[in-house]
């Protein structure tokens, strides 16, 4: 199993700098394929988002992300795996989180990154709150996010 990097932080981060480092680790591990996902703070459909605030459950967050990364490393033959997720206040267009996976071939790298995102969405203790002129509101979970987990339950 490759190196699992789990980071939970308040500070902003640069996805490009992370990818540069990750590609080097991946290449040294013998990987030929690297997939990344970056989540960005997206404005509301009609505009007007002032900020997004993310609450998390210190302690459980790190455990949940580690468990998800280990589950992926058990299902696919992976090189390094990275999961970074911010909490606290962030502005529209800022990166919220990133996952990166590496493998010898592209199918495993894609599947593992997709899997990490599905599990992270519904199983890692983060909650988003949107701040607009009209007030604050907690983002509702989507039924489709829970349903997405079924894709990984068989086969």
């Amino acid at each position: 199993m490759g190196d699992l990097q789990i980071r939970v932080q308040e500070a902003a981060f640069d996805p490009g700098a992370l990818l540069s480092d990750f590609d080097q680790l991946a290449a040294r591990s013998g990987a030929g394929a690297v997939v990344t996902f970056t989540g960005l703070v997206r404005d509301l459909p009609g505009g007007g988002l002032h900020a997004m605030e993310i609450e998390h459950y210190p302690g459980m967050t790190e455990k949940a992300l580690t468990a998800i990364a280990e589950e992926a490393a058990g299902r696919w033959d992976l090189g390094p795996v990275l999961i970074l997720h911010r909490y606290g206040l962030m502005r529209p267009e800022e990166p919220i989180m990133m996952v990166a996976t590496a493998s010898a071939h592209r199918a495993a790298a894609f599947a593992a990154a997709d899997f990490l995102m599905d599990y992270l969405k519904s199983r890692a203790p983060f909650w988003k709150k949107e701040t607009t002129e009209a007030g604050d509101s907690w983002v509702a979970a989507k039924a489709e996010d829970e349903a997405a987990l079924d894709r990984w339950r068989q086969g």
Binding site: G39, I54, Y57, I96, S122, P125, F126, W127, K128, W138
Partner: protein, 84 residues
């Protein structure tokens, strides 16, 4: 009697008005604990009115409402997660 740390997140924390409390209980499951808390005050009753919108973790692991509280030290209640 068992002494539990109870922690709340997101709108559950806001409705109940505190992030964490210590609670002495004879509840054997999260469901029994919720019933006990909801009977305390309206703000708890309101927060737990719709359990389909509440998730529970025991010692930082997701659990079911009928799981056993035996040996548990920390119970967390929160809405469905929305990270990513």
């Amino acid at each position: 009697m068992q002494s539990l740390q109870i922690v709340y997140f997101a709108w559950l924390r806001e409705r109940i008005g505190l992030p964490r409390e210590t609670w002495e209980t004879k509840a054997e499951t999260p469901a029994e604990l919720v019933a006990e808390l909801a009977a305390r005050e309206d703000r708890y009753a309101l927060a737990f009115a719709d359990l389909s919108a509440v998730r529970v973790a025991l010692d930082q692991e997701l659990a079911e409402f009928d799981a056993s509280l035996a040996g548990v030290r920390e119970v967390a209640f929160f809405p469905p997660m929305t990270g990513g």
